[in-house]
């Protein structure tokens, strides 16, 4: 349904268009059952970045404070991309893995469910 304005063809700036991020795209990364990080983090990342680099270079900066982090078995991590289960190819780029501008990546670590299993 169109917005009713006092003039025809109401529209405004698309502030978060990918072109505005200087060659990067936005990616959100969250860790399920670890509410210490109250919400997913937002990161500007090059679409060509390999998924493996995201795991190695970005994720630790976001979540390594959590005591569970050191115990993650990266082979068992389950990933969700924009709400769907997904198996990333680590040496392929974010773009080739289907991670687009403003995609949300969620990490699920079976067996690791926060401090004392509390989801925190």
């Amino acid at each position: 349904m169109a917005v009713k304005a006092a003039y025809e063809n109401y529209s405004g700036p698309n502030r978060d268009a990918v072109e505005n991020f200087h060659g990067n795209q936005l990616v959100y990364i969250g860790w399920d059952e670890h509410m210490m990080f109250a919400c997913p983090g937002a990161f500007p990342l090059p679409p060509q970045m390999p998924f493996g680099a995201l795991v190695k270079d970005v994720v630790p900066g976001a979540f390594s404070q959590h005591p569970d982090f050191a115990n993650i078995d990266w082979n068992k991590v389950e990933w969700l991309l924009d709400g769907n289960a997904f198996k990333p190819t680590l040496d392929k780029s974010l773009a080739d893995n289907g991670v687009n501008h403003k995609s949300l990546i969620r990490m699920i670590t079976p067996g690791l469910n926060g401090i004392n299993n509390s989801g925190f």
Partner: protein, 331 residues
């Protein structure tokens, strides 16, 4: 309160807000006026384009042709923030209340001769409609203007105009013993009588003026600058000359108000004109554009109010306005 104060150690970390420091250039303790005014309006990072304007932001400097490097410099010499304004007005309304009840208790209005009474009804009471338009116009300046210095003063002015429209209404109700008949007659004159039509047309045109600063000039400088001297001074003198003090008493609020209004409005155009030649030229252009129209629309009203003294009344009003404009460097 039981406080063990180590008074020597209690030193302020700062004396005022940073936005005031940026404006005055020093962290001296600041006046309530400045703390209430400077930097309060949002300036950047507006989230959504307004549905009500195709080209403008929620707060937009380009709503007028006037350009200021710092809009906060359009200060109000009265230093009115809400509290100072409303306390000042509450005192004035107290005085007005006493005047009205003085006139009422002594039935002073009964002594007004019929012809003067008619004049008050058909040439003075219609001003309540003009004041209502002035209320809308100042509300417009408050809505679309830039920087709290001028917009808050416009807001107060808008409410003042509503108050004045209501005082004029009260004069009508006192004249007709609360029947409302005088107001009906006055409104019919405003709506239909030939003498008022040029002014009503001008008023309706003014209500569609888009540039808020132009509206400030047209309404608060030129129109008020001519109407108040004409109606509260010359017409007021005429009522007093016939031995009637009641009119002057009941319009004391307006007369005092206008003196104060002039102080505010003149400072605004003075500072705006001093900012740049282009501002000065633009202000001059607006005055040249509005003054003849307003003067022309006032002719039949002046005629009706003052009769043979009409031209003298208009001349005096023009002289009053010209003197003000000369003083602030716009002519």
């Amino acid at each position: 309160m039981q406080v063990d104060i180590k008074s020597l150690s209690i030193k302020p970390l700062r004396n005022t807000f940073d936005q005031v420091v940026r404006f005055t250039g020093s962290d001296k303790s600041a006046s309530r006026y400045l703390e209430a005014t400077i930097g309060v309006q949002p300036e950047v990072n507006f989230h959504y384009k307004p549905l009500w304007s195709k080209n403008r932001d929620l707060y937009d400097k380009e709503n007028t042709l006037i350009v200021m490097s710092d809009w906060y410099r359009l200060l109000d010499p009265r230093q009115y923030y809400y509290g100072a304004w409303t306390i000042a007005r509450s005192k004035q309304q107290d005085a007005a209340e006493r005047n009205f009840s003085f006139v009422e208790k002594r039935n002073m209005l009964e002594a007004i001769p019929a012809d003067l009474r008619d004049k008050i009804i058909t040439t003075f009471l219609p001003l309540r409609h003009m004041e209502y338009a002035a209320n809308l116009n100042n509300t417009y300046m408050s809505a679309y203007g830039y920087g709290v210095s001028i917009t808050q003063a416009a807001s107060m002015c808008a409410m003042d105009r509503l108050g004045i429209a209501q005082y004029i209404t009260r004069i009508g109700l006192m004249l007709d013993g609360n029947s409302g008949d005088t107001l009906k007659t006055a409104k019919a004159a405003w709506q239909n009588s030939p003498a008022w039509q040029p002014m009503r047309e001008l008023t309706e045109n003014m209500l569609t003026t888009e540039d808020w600063f132009e509206l400030f000039v047209a309404q608060n400088i030129v129109l008020d600058g001519l109407v108040y001297p004409l109606m509260y001074q010359s017409f007021g003198d005429l009522t007093s000359a016939s031995g009637q003090t009641s009119f002057a008493m009941m319009t004391e609020f307006m007369s005092e108000w206008f003196d104060e209004h002039v102080r505010w409005t003149d400072n605004i155009i003075k500072v705006a004109a001093a900012e740049s030649d282009s501002n000065k030229a633009q202000l001059g252009k607006w005055i040249q554009q509005w003054q003849p129209q307003i003067l022309q629309a006032l002719q039949p009203v002046a005629q009706q109010a003052l009769g043979s003294a009409a031209q003298a009344g208009l001349d005096a009003a023009v002289a009053h306005l010209s003197a003000r404009l000369n003083k602030v460097g716009i002519n």
